[in-house]
């Protein structure tokens, strides 16, 4: 069970109050004359990392706003939340995530 603090309204609640919108920072295609392979990749292919991941979440049964969340998909540890408009994860959140993952003796991403 994830306990998530919404950066928009400040409320802390169980994951059931939130909705996960999947992988963050996927760059939108130009929208015209995209190759089929590019469109398929954009719509369906995902990094699906085992370790540090960045996701979009929505405070569905709260303020209703979207935000970004940094998490470890192995340990479920949450490293921080940040603005939905951020085009990439903020450096301080990445640094904090790396520090806490290293403290557990884990690599940033693993395959097995």
């Amino acid at each position: 069970m994830l306990m998530i603090q919404c950066p928009c309204c400040g409320a802390t609640a169980e994951e059931a109050d939130f909705h996960c919108g999947g992988e963050a920072h996927i760059v939108r295609l130009a929208g015209d004359n995209d190759a089929d392979a590019d469109l398929g990749a954009y719509l369906f292919e995902r990094a699906n990392p085992k370790g540090l991941c960045f996701e979009r979440w929505r405070h569905q049964y709260g303020c209703g706003k979207w935000f970004h969340l940094a998490r470890d998909s192995r340990t479920m540890e949450i490293f921080g939340v940040y603005d939905i408009k951020a085009p990439a994860p903020p450096a301080e959140i990445v640094a904090e995530a790396r520090r806490r993952i290293a403290a557990r003796g884990l690599p940033e991403h693993s395959n097995n």
Partner: protein, 416 residues
Amino acid sequence: MSRYSIFSLARNAFAQHRNWQRAWRDPEPKAAYDVVIVGGGGHGLATAYYLAKNHGVSNVAVLEKGWIGGGNTGRNTTIIRSNYLRDESAALYELSRRLFETLSQELNFNIMFSPRGVLMLAQTEHEARGYQRTLHATRLNDAPTSWVDRKRVKELCPIVNDDRNARYPILGGLWQPRGGTARHDAVAWGYARAASELGVDIIQNCPVEGIDIEHGRVVGVRTGKGAIRCKKLGVVVAGHSTRLADMAGFRLPIESVALQAYVSEPIKPVMDIVIMANTVHGYMSQSDKGELVIGGGADSYLNYSQRGSWSAIEETTRALVETFPIISRLKMLRQWGGIVDMTGDRSPIIGKTPVGGVFVNCGWGTGGFKATPGSGHCFAATLSKGEPDDVAAPFSLERFSEGRMIDESAAAAVAH
């Protein structure tokens, strides 16, 4: 290897069971194989078995990072059915269900196939119409199901709540009498034993750490037990499919999430069929030990931890208590989670990849167990020929860029 029979059982009983042979060999890996299969679950082992049996390819290794059948093969609710809407799915799952019918005899291993019948409850008008549509599709696809009304549902399973004033009243159901369950571990063990006897090397505790590619073609894998060369590589690793794809340098349209199941304390027989209540997200059957085996919907976010959310358990329990009021005071004995590989259209991916000689069999999501024999059957054909067979062909990776979805996500709602 000695055959299992009533006579071997008697002979070993008189010898105080001291002379049983091990069921499969435990070899060290050779330097090279024709085919290496990564993943020693039911699908991987079935693939190895059919490669040796149907295609004469027995220079095969199955590499398993843990123990065989220790992943999703041992973590599901063992339901077998083929009442799918799409023609491509019906062909695959019905092939599988038919293979299950005689699998114990074929493998000389009792997989305890129990065609007790699977009933999918219709609890909204929309769902009832959806199942009528599936009913006609299954008849055309020679995987017959029938529509049963509310009275017949109560006869088939007296413990369901047939109150017309329930939040989701039972309007009827889609009944597949030759669906049912099987012993999931036995499916893995049976395939392992039969494959081993045909010359397949099953190598446990052997994680794959890298894939060697030369000139766009696989030449081998690096493992915890050293490098192994291979001509073809079959990746059958469910939740970790994207991790293996990463090693080989391509991407897959897959997200890995946790799916949980749990069993109650054992009670006297209360239901002798499998019931799926898809509107309220829950399914249940009773095991031979008397435990109620319960499954629900998958968690909604990326997870590799093999542990799911409490909220998913709460949601499933709430739904099933409403549907089966007598379970409200049962204690739950065990709970577990598996990491399932979800595709966008909730159909599997079977076939070639951008890397020469690398083939994938993945994306089974929440419904892979029922497909074990059919999956192995068509993936073995694909591996041996280097091209997908008729059953596997529609499930190619290219369908995601061609827009040729096999959309079972809308058709089957939540539970697979």
